[in-house]
């Protein structure tokens, strides 16, 4: 039982089956989990295989999965956290994965937990898919499939709740806010981490690497960025939604897979709300990969691709998102708490053509960048800087009271979620 090497999708069910794939259908498609015998040697072998596969984190940061797992594998029994929080309002890929292929996510969570000698796997999921994951976990428990207990929890709401340290604090203390210490313990010693956090898509890939091996995984994608990835395509395309693509697929091809552009495009937002605006004409021929986008100052991030039509205003979209991000600050760090609202107001002035001060905006972007306990302030700064790069020529027309349009492309939850 093996999926064709170059066959896509790998993670999502083929076709449009309604509802989640149950345990029987899951095992029929992928085959049984390889020898779920616990023990350090098996764990080391799986981590080495993930390293050969070149699997990287699919939550946005792209950290090598094997290095993260190996760093904790030597420690005392930690907790494996499968992060399906997906607090980003524009992104749906983790929710769709959990809704369609919950057993694959649980396979990966259990395998990773066993590989690092964890006492349990905690699967933190968006409330929309909680029931599906509960059902999937119950089915596994009835089949006595796993030696590691699986604990499904509902994620906290809010944009920053998905940051790794916030997820751990949510599980341990019921507070969905990032922490400074221990930050990113998986990359740091000598104190052993209490938890290692992996994105749910990363774990689903791990479950297939465990079955079929590294060279199977590498048979799609690029040598530097192998494998497939889930992307959320939205905006001016005919069939917006979640797709599974080979890493490095050209952006124009990805938009074709989403039904093609529904209007002439001016720009794309890539990666997420912490990502980058790029000019559409420059980007469409580029591979959707870190290497293919680096010189545009962009990257695949968490797999978001938003197509901005010519009739919309990129500065206006940015202003709405930055105002939302400012409201989503956990409020713990001064530069983020005070700086993001100030930056949002300045971007709004720029859009409305009422006396914006580009020097002041630039100063504040510099004063907020990199100065927080988590990636939130830096992510918002990155988005604004990319908007100024991509839509900078329109600032003067806005100052003269002209704006391309008010079409709304990027979703922002009303009234905040905190």
């Amino acid at each position: 039982m093996i999926l064709g090497a170059a066959e896509l999708p790998r993670l999502l069910p083929a076709g449009y089956a309604a509802g989640p794939v149950g345990l029987a259908g899951h095992l029929a498609r992928y085959g049984p989990l390889p020898c779920p015998r616990s023990g350090r040697l098996d764990g080391r072998a799986l981590i080495a295989e993930a390293g050969r596969a070149g699997l990287t984190g699919r939550g946005g940061a792209g950290f090598p999965t094997a290095r993260k797992l190996a760093a904790v594998a030597a420690g005392r029994a930690p907790v494996l956290v499968a992060n399906g929080t997906e607090g980003e309002p524009a992104s749906a890929k983790d929710k769709v994965l959990m809704a369609r292929s919950p057993q694959l996510v649980l396979d990966g969570a259990v395998l990773a937990a066993e590989a690092i000698g964890a006492c349990r796997a905690v699967v933190v999921v968006h409330p929309h898919v909680r029931g599906i994951l509960d059902g999937a976990a119950a089915e596994r428990a009835r089949a006595r499939l796993d030696r590691v207990p699986v604990d499904v929890r509902t994620a906290a709401g809010g944009f920053v709740a998905g940051q790794a340290s916030a997820v751990v604090r949510w599980i341990e203390r019921g507070v969905p806010a990032p922490t400074a210490t221990p930050p990113r313990l998986s990359e740091r010693g000598p104190r052993r981490p209490s938890a290692v956090v992996q994105n749910v898509e990363t774990l689903a890939h791990l479950a297939l690497i465990a079955r079929y091996g590294a060279s199977w995984f590498r048979s799609v994608g690029t040598p530097a960025e192998p494998g497939s990835m889930l992307v959320t395509v939205l905006g001016a395309v005919r069939a917006p939604g979640v797709l599974e693509i080979a890493a490095g697929t050209p952006l124009g091809r990805v938009l074709d897979l989403a039904g093609g552009a529904s209007a002439p495009l001016q720009a794309l937002l890539l990666g997420g709300y912490f990502g980058d605006w790029v000019d559409a004409a420059q980007a469409l021929g580029r591979p959707f990969s870190a290497a293919g986008l680096a010189d545009l100052g962009a990257g695949p991030g968490a797999g978001l691709i938003a197509a901005l039509p010519a009739g919309a205003c990129g500065l206006r979209e940015t202003a709405r998102v930055v105002r939302y991000l400012a409201g989503e600050s956990a409020g713990q760090c001064g530069p983020c708490r005070f700086g993001l609202p100030a930056i949002a107001s300045e971007v709004e002035r720029l859009v409305e053509g009422r006396g914006a001060d580009p020097g002041l905006l630039s100063r504040w972007l510099g004063q907020v960048d990199g100065r927080g306990g988590c990636a939130h302030p830096s992510g918002a700064v990155r988005l604004v800087r990319s908007a100024l790069r991509t839509f900078g020529a329109e600032v003067s027309s806005h100052a003269a009271g002209r704006c391309r349009g008010a079409a709304v492309v990027l979703p922002v939850p009303p009234g905040g979620t905190r």
Partner: protein
């Protein structure tokens, strides 16, 4: 225990009291909201004693001298 040391701020702990910028203006300034901006450079040896004293002064224990390599996500 040699090697360069750098000042680091735990922004979650920092309350923006601003004592550090008064005590060590050579290395610490304040942003527009009153939170410390520390230089990413190594603390020069002549200021090391002052830097240690400034770390002790912080009422929120938010300032540290750090021997680790400076990372991008400071």
């Amino acid at each position: 225990m040699t090697g360069p040391v750098r000042l680091r701020v735990d922004f979650i702990a920092c309350a923006g009291r601003g004592l550090c910028a008064e005590a060590l203006p050579e290395l610490i300034t304040l942003d527009d909201w009153g939170f410390p901006i520390v230089t990413g450079r190594a603390v020069p040896p002549r200021l090391l004693a002052d830097a240690r004293e400034t770390v002790r002064l912080c009422p929120k224990l938010a300032l540290r001298l750090d021997r680790r390599h400076q990372t991008s996500d400071s």
